[in-house]
Amino acid sequence: MADGGAPPKAPLVEVRGLKMHFPIRSGLLRRQTGAVKAVDGVDFDVIEGETLGLVGESGCGKSTCGRAVLRLYDITDGSIRVDGQEIGRAGQGRLRRMRPTMQMVFQDPQASLNPRMTVADIIREPLDEHTKMSRREKREKVLELMDAVGLNRRFAGRYPHAFSGGQRQRIGIARALALNPKFIVCDEPIAALDVSIQAQVVNLLEDLQEKFGLTYLFISHDLSMVRHIATRVAVMYLGRIVELAPREALYAEPLHPYTQALLSAVPEPDPLAEAGVKRIILKGDVPSPANPPKGCNFCTRCPRVMEICREVDPASQEVAPGRFVACHLYDGSPVPKVVAGPGPAPRSEPQPETTTTTAGETAAPNNEQRLIEPQQGERDR
C-alpha cells in the first residue's frame, strides 16, 4: 500500500481490498443463504489525468466495481480514497459533499435520461442540487456544457427521445461534467452505440479529458476500444483483477493466461492477419460468482493449470515495474519485487508503438524489460 519510487503524478483514486458481495436470500424467511461475490478483493490506483481501462467478460464484476468505487453501494469491505479522502465508510452526508468530484456515465443513454425532462433540465439537475448558482448562471453553464460535448444549443428545449443514441450519450456526458468533476467512471459508454457512432463518442471523451484534465475509469468489454483510449488496463475475471499493466505492455505481451486467451479471442478486422491469429480457445464458461472455485478463480478453464492452482489462491504480485499479475506461473519470478501497490506506471518515454506482424504472435516491447515468458506449452490449439 506504499507508494513505489517517485511517481510523476499522484493517484487520484486508491482502492484497496474492495469487496462487494450481494446477499442471496432464499426460503420463507428470506434468510441469507449465500453471497454473489461480484467484486472480491481488488486493488488498484487511478492516476490523476490517466484513463484506467477495466476489461473483462460480462458478469465479471466491472460495473459493480465502478459503482462501488463511487459508493453507489454500501461496500462489503475495503478502502477507497478519492482525492485524498477516505470514502469507503463515509456516510450519506459526506458522500453528498464528495459527489461533485466523482461522476458516472452509463451504458444505456436511453434508460439513464428522464424522458420527461428537457435536455437543459437534465444537464441542470446536478447544478440545482449541488450549487447555489442563479438561474441565469445555470442557464449559461448548461449552454456551455452543450457546446463542450458538441450538442447544438438549439436542442436545449428538446426531450431525450428526439435524439439519436450517440447524442443521448452526449447529454449524459454533459450532465456528468456539470459539477466540474475530477474523476468519471464511464461504464460501457459506447456499448449500446453503432460502430460508426462509437468513434464519435470516444473521440469526444478524449477531447474532454484533455480540456478539463479529467481522470477516467473506463469500463468496457471491447478490448480494442480500451487499447485505444486507456493509459493502463486492468483485466477482471470473476470478481478479481488478474492482471494490471500499462497498455502497451499488456497488449504486446499479456502475462496472465486469461488475458492471453481473451486477447487472442478478439477477431482481427483484416482477413490476411486474421488467418494468422493463433487462438487460445477456452473450454467451458465462467463459473458463478456465487460459487467461485477453490484456489485460483481461473483454474476451471486455464490451459496452464497446475496442482497448486486448485488449492492456493494466487496473490497479485508486481513482476515488472507497474505490471501486476495474480498467477502461480509467476511465483518466484526473478524480477526484484518492488514494495508497491498497483500504483503508477513507470512513465515510459514515448516509444515507437510495438507492431505485431502476425497478430497473436506477440512482439517484445522494445524498451520494456523483458519478462520471463512462462514455458510455451499447449498455448495454441
Partner: protein
C-alpha cells in the same frame, strides 16, 4: 451478379416496406444478392441498415402487417419463395433453410426441454420416429460440442449458459441438413471467448456439412475471419459486395472505406485518433432518389443528389454502388492495381469535429460538383492521423436535402438561420434513430 457456381439462393429486386403510424419505412430497397452452394456470405452494416429485415423477408418471417414485401424474387430450389404458400414455406423453413437468431434465450422455448426442441423439426420435417429423433438429437448436441449430450437432452434452456444455448440453436438449425443456414448476429450477445468457441465450431461444421451460410454481423473482425464473400448494407441497400480479401484490401464505397478505418484493433499499430463517420444513418421514410450515404459522404457530388447509384462492377466479383466507380462518370476511380500498403498522408479525415450535424443546414456555401479525389489508399489498416497540434480541417459538409434535379442556386450570402420550426414530431435525425434502435 452471380458468378462461379450455381447459386442455391438468388434474390433479385427485393423491396420490403413497413407501414407505421409515422408513415412508411422503406427498410429494404431493391436488394439483389445470391448465395453459392457451400459459401459463407457475410452481411455487414450498421443498426437499421436492413440486414435482418432482408433475411426475414426471404423466408416469410416478418409480421404482415405492418411489413409488406412489395417486390422481388427469391429463387430457392427451383421456386420463388415469395410466391410459395405458407404451408410449403413453413416446411422449407427449419427444413432446407435453417436459421439462428441473435438472442438465444428468446428463440428457445423455456417450457420445453432442449431435447424436445431439437427433436421437433426432425419429426416434422424428416418424418423420424421418436427413437430415431432422440438418437439424432444427441448426435447433434455432440456435434455442436455440448459434453454429455444424451443426458443434457432432458435439460431446460435456463440450465444452459448463453454460449451453450447458442450451440443448441445451431443444433436445431442444422437438424434437417439444411442447404442454407441464415445466422443473424449469432454471437453478438456473447462474450469474446465464447464467440471464439462458436466461430471455431462454425468453421468446423461448414467443412463437415458443406452448406451455404449467410452470417449477419456488425463486427468486421468476425467477417474477416469467417466469410468467403461480403455484402455491405447501408440504408436498406447493398452498397458493396466482394470476396472478403478483396473487400478489405480494396474497398471502393466511401461507407465501406470509412467503416474499415473506424474500427480499432487489438493487434498491429494503434491509431492516435479514431476516424469518425460523421452524422447519422438515413431515415428510410421514402425510396431515395439520391445516394443514401450522401449526407455522410466526404466525396458527395452533384449527381449524388439527383440519382441513386446502381451497383457498378469494379473487379471480378466485386461491385459498389457509388458514382465514384461509375465508369461513365469519372476516370479517377477506376479499379487500379492494389498499391503497396504504405501509410498515406491523410490530410482530410472524414470528419474532424465531434459535432453532430445540425438538423437543418443553411444552404451550402457552394455546391461542389467536382468529385474530390479519394485521399485514402485502399488500405484496411487505420491510417495515421495528422500530426498532433495540427488541427484537422473540418470539412464543409453539404447536407441540405435538396429537391431532386433542381438546379441549386449558388447562394453567397448565407441566409438568416431558418427558425427552428416548432415541431411536434421528432425531426429527421432523431427519427432516424428511433427507427434504428439501439439494439444490436
Amino acid at each position: 451478379m452471380p458468378d462461379g457456381g450455381a447459386p442455391v439462393l438468388d434474390v433479385t429486386g427485393l423491396k420490403t416496406v413497413f407501414r407505421t403510424r409515422g408513415g412508411e419505412v422503406h427498410a429494404v430497397n431493391t436488394v439483389d444478392f445470391h448465395l453459392n452452394a457451400g459459401e459463407l456470405l457475410g452481411v455487414v452494416g450498421e443498426s437499421g441498415s436492413g440486414k435482418s429485415v432482408t433475411m426475414m423477408s426471404l423466408i416469410g418471417l416478418l409480421p404482415t402487417p405492418p411489413a409488406e414485401v412489395r417486390a422481388g424474387r427469391v429463387m430457392f430450389d427451383g421456386r420463388d419463395l415469395l410466391k410459395t404458400d405458407d404451408e410449403t414455406l413453413r416446411d422449407i423453413r427449419g427444413g432446407q433453410i435453417g436459421f439462428v437468431f441473435q438472442d438465444p434465450m428468446t428463440s428457445l422455448n423455456p417450457v420445453f426441454t432442449v431435447g424436445f426442441q431439437i427433436m421437433e423439426p426432425l419429426r416434422r420435417h424428416m418424418g423420424m420416429g421418436k427413437r430415431a429423433a432422440r438418437v439424432r438429437a444427441a448426435e447433434l448436441l455432440d456435434l455442436v460440442g455440448i459434453p454429455d449430450a444424451t443426458r443434457r437432452l432432458g435439460d431446460f434452456p435456463h440450465q444452459f449458459s448463453g454460449g451453450m444455448r447458442q450451440r443448441v440453436m445451431i443444433a436445431i438449425a442444422l437438424a434437417c441438413d439444411p442447404k442454407v443456414l441464415i445466422a443473424d448476429e449469432p454471437t453478438t450477445a456473447l462474450d469474446v471467448t465464447i464467440q471464439a468457441q462458436i466461430l471455431e465450431l462454425m468453421k468446423e461444421l461448414r467443412t463437415k456439412l458443406g452448406m451455404g451460410v449467410i452470417w449477419i454481423t456488425h463486427d468486421l473482425g468476425v467477417i474477416a475471419g469467417i466469410a468467403d464473400r461480403v455484402m455491405v448494407m447501408y440504408g436498406g441497400q447493398v452498397v458493396e459486395q466482394a470476396p472478403v480479401r478483396e473487400l478489405f484490401a480494396n474497398p471502393r464505397h466511401p461507407y465501406t472505406r470509412a467503416l474499415l478505418t473506424t474500427v480499432p484493433s487489438v493487434r498491429g499499430e494503434r491509431v492516435k485518433r479514431l476516424t469518425v463517420i460523421e452524422g447519422q444513418p438515413p431515415i428510410l421514410s421514402q425510396q431515395p432518389g439520391w445516394c443514401p450515404f450522401r449526407d455522410r459522404c466526404p466525396h458527395r457530388m452533384e449527381v449524388c443528389d439527383r440519382l441513386n447509384p446502381q451497383r457498378y462492377p469494379v473487379a471480378a466479383g466485386h461491385d459498389a454502388a457509388c458514382f465514384l466507380v461509375d465508369p461513365g462518370l469519372s476516370e479517377d476511380y477506376r479499379p487500379r492495381p492494389r498499391p503497396a500498403p504504405q501509410p498515406a498522408p491523410q490530410p482530410q479525415p472524414l470528419q474532424a469535429q465531434p459535432q453532430p450535424r445540425p438538423i437543418r443546414q443553411q444552404p451550402d456555401p457552394q455546391p461542389q460538383p467536382q468529385p474530390r479525389p479519394v485521399q485514402q489508399q485502399p488500405d484496411p489498416q487505420p491510417q495515421p492521423q495528422p500530426q498532433p497540434g495540427q488541427k484537422p480541417q473540418p470539412q464543409p459538409v453539404q447536407q441540405q436535402p435538396r429537391p431532386q434535379s433542381q438546379p441549386h442556386p449558388v447562394q453567397q450570402q448565407p441566409q438568416p438561420q431558418p427558425k427552428p420550426q416548432p415541431q411536434v414530431r421528432p425531426t429527421s435525425v432523431s427519427h432516424s434513430f428511433t427507427i434504428g434502435g439501439d439494439d444490436g
